[in-house]
C-alpha cells in the first residue's frame, strides 16, 4: 500500500467519521445560536435516536430509511418536550442554571437508558441492514456502501438544513430570533414556536446521525452518545458556535484530524487531540473559524 493510497484511505475514513460529527454539531450550533445554550443533552439524543432506529428495525421490522425517519420524528418530539419542560422555564434565569440543567438531563437520559429493561448496560449489535459491498476507488483504497450512505445522507441533510434556514419563513424566523430575540418578538414572530422548531430540527439531525453511526459501527450501547457528543461540541466550537456552515466544516475537520493523528501512529491520543484543538482554538480565536468578532456598541 503506497503512501498516497494510505493517505487517501485515511482521508476517506476521516471524512465519513467527520460527517457524523457534523450532523451532531449542527444541533449544538443551532440551539446555541438561538438561545445561547450549550445543550449537553444533545449527545444523548444521538444515543436515543440510535436505539429508536435499532428497535424500529429489530422489533417493528422496518427497513432502514423508515426506521431512520421514525428515529428523527421521535427525537424531534423529544427535543421539543425537553425544551418546553427543562429549558423554557429557565429562559430568563442565569445562563449557568440552564447549562447545569443540560448536564443534568444528559446524565438523566444516560441512566434512564441504563436502567431500561430494553437497553441495559450491554452493547447490542446493530443488524447489517445492507449486505456489505466494497467499492474500490483505486487499488487498496476502499469505501464500503454503509460509509457512502452515511456521507450521502449527511450531505443531503445539511443541504436540506441550509434550504430550510435560508429559503423558508421558519428559517427566517430562526435567523431573526438568533439575532435579537426581543426585536423578533416585536416584529410579530412567535419566539416560543421558533425555538421549539429549532430544537426539533437539531434533535432530528442528531437522531439521523445516531442511526447512521449505529449502521456504520454495528453497535448501540447506552453510553455511545458521550464521546461523540463531546467531540461534536468541540467541532461546533471549532467552526464557530452559532454558525451553521461552521458546524459542518468543524465536524469534517475534526474527523479528518482524528484520522490523521491515528494514521501518524498516535491512535491513543486521538481523543486528547480533539480536546487540545478546542483549547487552542479558544485561546487563539474563540469565535471559531467562521466567527466574527462582534463588538458591542454602546
Amino acid at each position: 500500500m503506497t503512501i498516497t493510497q494510505q493517505i487517501l484511505q485515511q482521508l476517506i475514513n476521516g471524512i465519513s467519521l467527520g460527517s457524523v460529527y457534523a450532523l451532531i454539531a449542527l444541533g449544538y450550533t443551532m440551539v446555541y445560536g438561538i438561545i445561547k445554550l450549550i445543550n449537553f443533552a444533545h449527545g444523548e439524543i444521538f444515543m436515543i435516536g440510535a436505539f429508536v432506529g435499532f428497535f424500529a428495525i429489530t422489533k417493528l421490522g422496518m427497513s432502514f430509511f423508515p426506521a431512520m425517519f421514525t428515529a428523527m420524528i421521535f427525537c424531534a418530539i423529544l427535543g421539543i418536550l425537553m425544551e418546553r419542560l427543562a429549558y423554557k422555564p429557565l429562559r430568563n434565569a442565569h445562563r449557568v442554571a440552564a447549562l447545569m440543567t443540560a448536564v443534568g438531563l444528559s446524565m438523566l437520559f444516560q441512566n434512564l437508558a441504563l436502567a431500561h429493561s430494553w437497553i441495559g448496560a450491554s452493547a447490542k449489535g446493530f443488524p447489517q441492514v445492507f449486505p456489505l459491498q466494497r467499492f474500490q476507488l483505486m487499488e487498496n483504497v476502499n469505501i464500503s456502501n454503509d460509509r457512502i450512505l452515511t456521507l450521502a445522507v449527511a450531505v443531503f441533510l445539511m443541504i436540506a438544513l441550509q434550504f430550510i434556514v435560508h429559503k423558508t419563513i421558519m428559517g427566517k424566523a430562526m435567523r431573526a430570533v438568533s439575532l435579537d430575540k426581543d426585536a423578533a418578538r416585536l416584529m410579530g414572530i412567535n419566539v416560543d414556536k421558533t425555538i421549539s422548531f429549532t430544537f426539533a430540527l437539531g434533535s432530528s439531525l442528531a437522531a439521523a446521525a445516531g442511526v447512521l453511526f449505529a449502521l456504520n459501527y454495528g453497535i448501540v450501547v447506552y453510553q455511545m452518545g458521550l464521546l461523540p457528543g463531546l467531540k461534536a461540541f468541540v467541532a461546533a466550537v471549532l467552526g464557530g458556535i452559532g454558525i451553521i456552515p461552521g458546524a459542518m466544516v468543524g465536524g469534517l475537520l475534526l474527523g479528518v484530524t482524528e484520522s490523521a493523528v491515528s494514521a501518524a501512529g498516535g491512535s491513543m491520543f486521538r481523543d486528547a487531540v480533539a480536546f487540545a484543538a478546542l483549547i487552542i482554538m479558544l485561546l487563539v480565536k474563540p469565535t471559531g473559524l467562521f466567527g466574527k468578532n462582534v463588538r458591542e456598541k454602546v
Binding site: 484511505q9 448496560a121 452493547a123 449489535g125 476502499n142 464500503s144 459501527y217 491512535s267
Partner: protein, 387 residues
Amino acid sequence: MKRKLSLVLVVTMVLSLALTGCGGNQPQAPAAPAAPEEIKIGSVFPITGAIATFGQSSLNGTQLAFEEINNAGGVLGGRKLVLINEDNQSKTEETATAFQKLITQDEVVAILGSVASSHSLAGAPIAQEAGIPMLSPTSTNPRVTQVGDFIFRACFIDPFQGQVMAKFALETLGVTTAAMLVEQDSDYSKGLAAYFKKAFEAGGGTIVAEEGYKSTDTDFSAILTRVKAANPAVVFVPAYYGTVGPILRQAQELEIDAVFLGGDGWDSDKLFELAGDAANGGFFSNHYSPDAGTPEVEAFLAAYQAKFNAVPDALAALAYDAAYMLAQAIEEAGSVDGVAIRDALAAINFTGVSGNVTFDENRNPVKSAVIIEIRDGRQVYKATVNP
C-alpha cells in the same frame, strides 16, 4: 421565604449524603448469619456491561455445579453450598466494592471470581488481606496469582496462551509476519499481546505493526488502515468480544486479507452478533471445546443443556470446574477455615470438564489449550495444544 426554602433544600441534600452509604447493587438487609447446614460462597461475575456474556456463563456453570453438589449430599457431612453473586457490571471499580461486601457483609468462606484479569487484580488484594481463598475460573494474566498465596485460578495463564497462538501461526498456518491490535486499558490484552510477540519473534516471525486502542473506541478504521499498509499475514487481536466484533467487521470493510487470531476473550455468541460473517476464517485459543468427547464433557453438556437450553462456552465449563474444585478442597480441608481451604486447594488433584488440574508453586494450573476455528458463524474445534 426563599432563604428558608434554600436552607431546607441544603439540609435535605446533606442528609441524603448519609443515605448514599446504603444500597449498593442489591438493596438488602444485613446478611443473616449462615445456618449451620449452609456454607456461603461468594462470586463476582459481571451480569451486565462489556463482558456480560462471560459473567452470565460463569454464573450458570457455578449454579449448575452447586445444584449437583447439593443434590448429591453437599459437603462436610451434608452442608449445602449457597452462592451469593455480586454483579461488578464489568467494571474494575465495582469489583473492589463487590469483594468488600462479600467478605465483610456476607461473610463468605471463599470467593469464585472474577472473570476478567483487570477485575481479579482489583479484588485479589482484598481477599488476600482478609485471608479468604479466591479462585478465579478464567483470569489468565499471570499477575493475578502473584498477589498472594490465597489467590488461585482454574485456567492456564497467558504466557502459555500467547505461545499457543504464536506457534499455531508459525507452524500450522506457516506465516512469518503478524500485526497486533492491543487494547490498552485491559491487562489481559496487553499481557497476552506481549507473550504472543515474544513467542512469535522467538520462532523467527516479525511483528510488522502494533496498534493500540481504548475499549471505548468504536472507529478502528484508522488503525486498521495502518495495519493493512504493513501487510501482515495474520492479525492478532487479544481482546474481549465486545471490541473484537467491530474490529473484525471494519477490517472486512477495508478488505484486509489476513487471518485474524485471538485468545479466549473471543468466546461468546455475541461475537457473531457484532461481527456478522466477518468472524469467519478466524481462530482463537480457548480452554475447552464442546466437541472434546470426554465423558466429563459429555455429562456436563447434557446437564447444562437440560438446565439452560444452550451449549456451554469455556466460561461456563471453567466456572463449573472451579466450583467443583472448591467443593473438593473444602471436603479435603475438613473445615471452612480459610487457611485450611487454601492448603487443600494448593495440594489438590482434580479432573474436570476442562481437563486435569494440579497447581504449580504459583497456584497456576498446568493445562492444555484448544484452538477453535470460526466457520459459517459457528465455533469448530481445530486442535489441542499440550503444555
